[in-house]
């Protein structure tokens, strides 16, 4: 049950923020990945640019707002995602060690502030800006957290409280509270500057009143927009899921069930069909591994699946590393197919293990069964299977093949083929 390859529309490479291991907002990490430059350079650039009238800080902030978080692009397999949505999988785990870089950066920032203060004296405008920026950074950070959690959200409704706090936890409340307090005190410090306490307070109160008024005017619109968006998103996700599942079930499972009913008198066929369907469903739901001819691993899996279907055995393929399948590597795939077929036909155990290891220098494949085994000397010269298809084929293409077999204990075929372009590292 392999599907024909479909033409993928060209996808633009888009920069995104690194939400896996951000120090502040993941901007430098995301940009480094996009530009292919070392992340240290970009971080150094932002820090240096920050020294020029805060240019780096403004650039960083602007990119933080504009670049999307990369967590939205993470997709798992359908089965995995479904299990995650249903709460049958663990969520992200946060460790205290993750906070290490943040603490280091905060310490550096404090040091930097004291240096600047030492050089220019306690600037009246400087401190409010620093406090305000710290507050904003905290709030934006929380917005990121909330956004990331929304992508893993199972309730699929946009709830204004969840939009701010995500799924809660003291960390998010603390971030929001600290952010608001810091921004508020920045205003207060500006207001206090050179005036009496009473005037400062009235300035802060005036600011707060303006903000509350604005929230009251705009609030309902924002809420309605959010709930509309939520409803639309929910509907879209449901539709896509239904379509995916329906198509897949109809395509494969129903057809297999029909076939099983037709051949219910023949246990071998039923077992073969069940095995093929199991393999198909498993790879669709969980593995996310290709079985097409574009890579060595995919081609080996496809060959194994074919032998499974023809001979009614179970073939387990374990591939470590992978690379594109070019003409030079095709012989090892064909020899593997031959070796697996031999094992399926003659071993008599119904189970074959295939292990493939792709390194920059070579491709190694091991085909093993625990079946009858044979003595290589007893194989007649005219038995084409082993001699021509495996040993000679590998030698003709610059590789080696070795058959180790002990009667009663099984057979192992070892194939080795040097790769033509060792510099093309996958």
């Amino acid at each position: 049950m392999t599907s024909a390859p479909t033409l993928q529309p060209h996808e633009w490479r888009r920069a995104s923020r690194d939400s896996e291991s951000p120090i502040v907002g993941g901007v430098a990490g995301g940009l480094a990945r996009h530009l292919g430059a070392p992340v240290l350079w970009l971080r150094a650039f932002f820090v240096l640019a920050a020294a020029f009238g805060g240019l780096g800080v403004f650039l960083y902030a602007a990119l933080w707002i504009m670049l999307p978080s990369d967590s939205r692009f993470e997709t798992s397999t359908p089965g995995g995602e479904s299990a995650a949505r249903g709460g049958r999988r663990p969520g992200r785990v946060r460790r205290l060690a993750d906070a290490g870089p943040t603490i280091a950066l905060a310490a550096l920032a404090f040091g930097g502030i004291f240096v600047v203060e030492g050089m220019f004296g306690g600037g009246a405008v400087f401190w409010p800006i620093v406090i305000g920026l710290a507050g904003l950074a905290l709030l934006w950070r929380q917005a990121d957290e909330a956004q990331r959690e929304r992508w893993f959200d199972s309730s699929e409704r946009l709830d204004p409280v969840r939009m701010v706090f995500g799924s809660g936890g003291w960390a998010s409340y603390a971030r929001v509270a600290a952010g608001v307090i810091l921004v508020g005190s920045a205003f207060a410090v500006v207001g206090l500057n050179g005036t009496s306490f009473g005037e400062a307070r009235s300035a802060v109160v005036a600011g707060l009143v303006a903000m509350v008024g604005l929230a009251l005017v705009i609030g309902p619109w924002v809420l309605r927009l959010a709930s509309d968006l939520g409803a639309e998103r929910e509907e879209r996700i449901r539709t896509q899921e239904r379509a995916d599942v329906a198509a897949h079930l109809h395509d494969s499972v129903l057809q297999t069930l029909a076939l099983i009913q037709k051949s219910s008198h023949d246990p071998t066929t039923v077992a073969r069909l069940a095995r093929a369907q199991e393999r198909d469903l498993r790879s669709w739901l969980y593995a996310g591994e290709s079985t097409d001819e574009s890579s060595v691993g995919g081609a080996l899996r496809a060959a194994a699946a074919e032998v499974e279907d023809t001979h009614g055995v179970s073939v387990d393929v374990v591939a470590v590393g992978d690379c594109d399948l070019d003409e030079g590597l095709r012989p090892i795939v064909q020899a593997t197919r031959e070796a697996v077929t031999n094992a399926a036909k003659h071993a008599g155990t119904g189970r074959v293990d295939v292990y493939a290891e792709v390194t920059p220098g070579a491709v190694d494949v091991f085909v093993r069964d625990r079946g009858a085994g044979f003595s290589l000397d007893d194989v007649p010269e005219d038995r084409y299977g082993v001699r021509r298809s495996i040993l000679d084929r590998m030698e003709r293409h610059g590789g080696t093949a070795e058959v180790r077999s002990t009667p009663g204990e099984g057979t192992e075929v070892r194939l080795h083929l040097p790769r033509p372009h060792p510099e093309e590292n996958p």
């Binding site: 896996e20 798992s76 089965g79 995995g80 709460g87 969980y286 996310g288 093993r368 192992e412």
Partner: protein, 226 residues
Amino acid sequence: MTVASAGKSSGPVRVVIVDDHAMFRSGVRAELASTGAGQVDILAEAADVDQAVAAIAEHQPDVVLLDVHLPGGGGVEVMRRSQGRVPDTRYLALSVSDAAEDVIGTIRGGARGYVTKTITGPELVSAIRRVADGDAVFSPRLAGFVLDAFAGSIEVAAVDEDLDRLTEREREVMRLIARGYAYKEVAKELFISIKTVETHMSSVLRKLQLSSRHELTRWANDRRLL
């Protein structure tokens, strides 16, 4: 994590089965009752995380057969909540999923082995016995994931260097397991004792669980994006 084995017991291994599919639980129970008669003693079954935690606290089993996808946060959650209270219980993950993040995540959550649900009865019994004795159980696929995750060179300045890479011997053992060799055959092939093979496997398991290697945590996602 209990590394030191509390001595190999000779009696039947006391087991709790945790899986949200009732049909699968009864299937495993029937299979263990027939092939594992006298070797495996099934104490209880549980269908979700809360039931599992309660059952483990009540019965204090030797081994928990743990489904990876479980209502209430998955098998990892069961291990997280039970390990403090019942430290001597060991976990063998049993799942239909071959997804890399499930496999690696469960091992890092504290399981001492990972097998798929298509495993045969005798193999399951021997895997349970092995886990009960404090050894690790690696399927060929898990060994392949390990080789993949520890592949390539790493930065010299890595923090926990010994935890972040496999020794050449461990790599050889993993390769043979991935090729479908049984422990006995691995020992024969490398001219070492079965005990030494078991030591290598436990050491790999420990590295898999404790390594702070950046690649290991990101690895599952990265290989999907390639």
